[in-house]
Homo-oligomer: 331 residues x 2
């Protein structure tokens, strides 16, 4: 198959690993989504544990599932840099190495986010022009689509040039992977007027105006949920505050709905949107490969979704498109 | 009456002024809340328009309602500093002057927030030790109480010393006005671990540790909705992003609920919490008087609530308590 892909799956990462991650991988190979078609998965981790999980799913062997041994596991609370250095045979590190060597086209992990970032930067490596790879996260929108918030939390204390990179990387993602023509890119700020924003936002504005993107000005925390912007650019501190606050408000709404039994169907509908964070799969942008970070709480469905994101991102040729765009950039 | 208070009400400020503001004032003087007892209101603005609104509420004269003429109005989108300077007889400026002169004990406005801030700083004046008065806003919580987010949007590009002021002012407010003993004060950050935070958060931490407050470390955007912290300290950029994002997520939940007729009661319950921003009344802290900023969309109930906040804040002796605390501060 000319479009055969392989994804290295961190089977040991996440609160419910390996069971739910392996179950998600099984869902993926059984899925009839065109994104999953022909994609092979390498389950990276403790072979015995993975095998037991596969058995529990009723699978002894599958042509699109293989096991790649990794003898170490990086815990959810371990120090990112230290753990990546000290655990060269950990599932996160082995996954990154397979992408680097070309043995896999992409990797997906629900494990320690910081360690995934460090492994991606140290092993898969940044694209030369990108000093701070951001995490692309998504905010659910009234129109059923989503607004990308980039950076969702990887980088605090950013410079305008970093935010300009986030804008370019995010715009290309929406275009290449999600098929949105001419995506609207905005700066997340404390008001929509041009006078609004902190020093970082104000100094970033001229850089975004000079980029070959559809820069539309500022977007506010509330309009990020509307059909107003496709990409909301911010540093990882503001991005994290926005995403966590949205999560908190969503969970408050759900907890109120719980006391109304007649609203069960409505609650399910709300939950599907509110739990978006757990089901998205956040691509790490600006590295020389595809690395998808799933929520630590990922269950089988979330792992499956993150794998679909990994497959779609890889097939779209996103990384190659970024390289072309960066080559053409006046620096 | 030894506890007789007077509040100068900006009758002309807000999207639904003067009708809804005057109606809110009428609700206030008719309210049986102990906070409203004995409080007189000065309705500041166009006398004819205010009188017409009072008539529409069935009131010709009321012992606790008076009208104070102001010939100018600052529009919602006017430049704050310029408009305050150029419109000395605007309702916002006249309200501030009455607090300054002692003719009123407090002021409340649903008008141009920036102009209210400027008027408060230029006319009522900052307390000498406070360089950047913050707006105290509130996030609804699972336990039915609320977490103060300070600064909610008045100051971007803050220094650690400003955040320390916000922390002290916020802690005293929760204690003095809301009766919370030993309020838990936290820094809003991108993680609860001490290693998390941007440069501002990290440099602010030692200052908060040195203050006579109950500093508990970091709070995240989602835990701000839990019974975890009483005051979340941040610069006005992050505070605005958090509040607006919470608003956006709340309105997304409500719009989903709309398509479930059987969930009408549940939706009402959610709306009561989600619309909190419109009903809170945000106190401006660190000035030499009481100034409450209401939401621009305020209806009569929101105006009434903001007036109750103004009365409660004044009666609590908050400003005097702040002065005592600042005098005792090692600077």
């Amino acid at each position: 198959l000319s479009d055969a892909l392989t994804i290295a799956v961190d089977a040991m990462g996440g609160d419910h690993a390996p069971q739910q991650i392996v179950a998600g991988a099984v869902r993926f190979v059984r899925s009839d989504s065109p994104d999953a078609a022909g994609v092979g998965l390498q389950l990276v981790g403790d072979p015995e544990a993975i095998h037991a999980c596969l058995k529990a799913e009723g699978i002894d062997a599958h042509p699109r599932l293989s096991i790649v041994p990794a003898s170490q596991v990086i815990g959810m609370d371990e120090h990112p840099l230290e753990s990546v250095r000290k655990k060269p045979d950990s599932s996160i590190v082995v996954c990154a190495k397979r992408v680097k060597s070309g043995e896999a086209d992409a990797t997906m992990s629900a494990g320690n986010t910081g360690a995934c970032l460090v492994a991606a930067m140290m092993i898969i490596e940044r694209l030369p022009e990108i000093s701070r790879p951001p995490i692309a996260t998504f905010m659910p929108r009234h129109d059923g689509l989503a607004t990308m918030v980039v950076d969702g939390g990887a980088n605090v204390d950013c410079q305008p040039s970093h935010l300009a990179d986030f804008a370019l990387l995010g715009s290309l993602y929406m275009q290449t992977v999600l098929g949105i023509a001419n995506p609207r890119v905005a700066l997340l700020a404390n008001g929509e007027e041009e006078s609004k924003g902190d020093d970082l936002v104000k100094r970033t504005r001229p850089l975004l105006q000079a980029l070959p993107i559809n820069f539309i000005g500022n977007v506010e925390g509330n309009t990020a949920f509307e059909d107003y912007a496709d990409v909301a650019v911010c540093d990882g501190f503001a991005g994290n505050v926005a995403l966590k606050t949205a999560e908190g408000m969503g969970s408050l709404c759900l907890s109120i709905l719980e006391s109304f039994p007649e609203a069960a169907a409505a609650m399910q509908a709300v939950r599907r949107r509110v739990d978006w964070a757990e089901y998205g799969g956040a691509p790490l942008l600006g590295i020389n490969g595809v690395s998808i970070i799933a929520h630590g709480r990922s269950n089988a469905r979330a792992a499956e979704t993150a794998l679909l994101v990994a497959a779609r991102t890889t097939r779209s040729g996103y990384v190659a498109a970024v390289k072309v765009a960066l080559e053409g950039r006046v620096s």
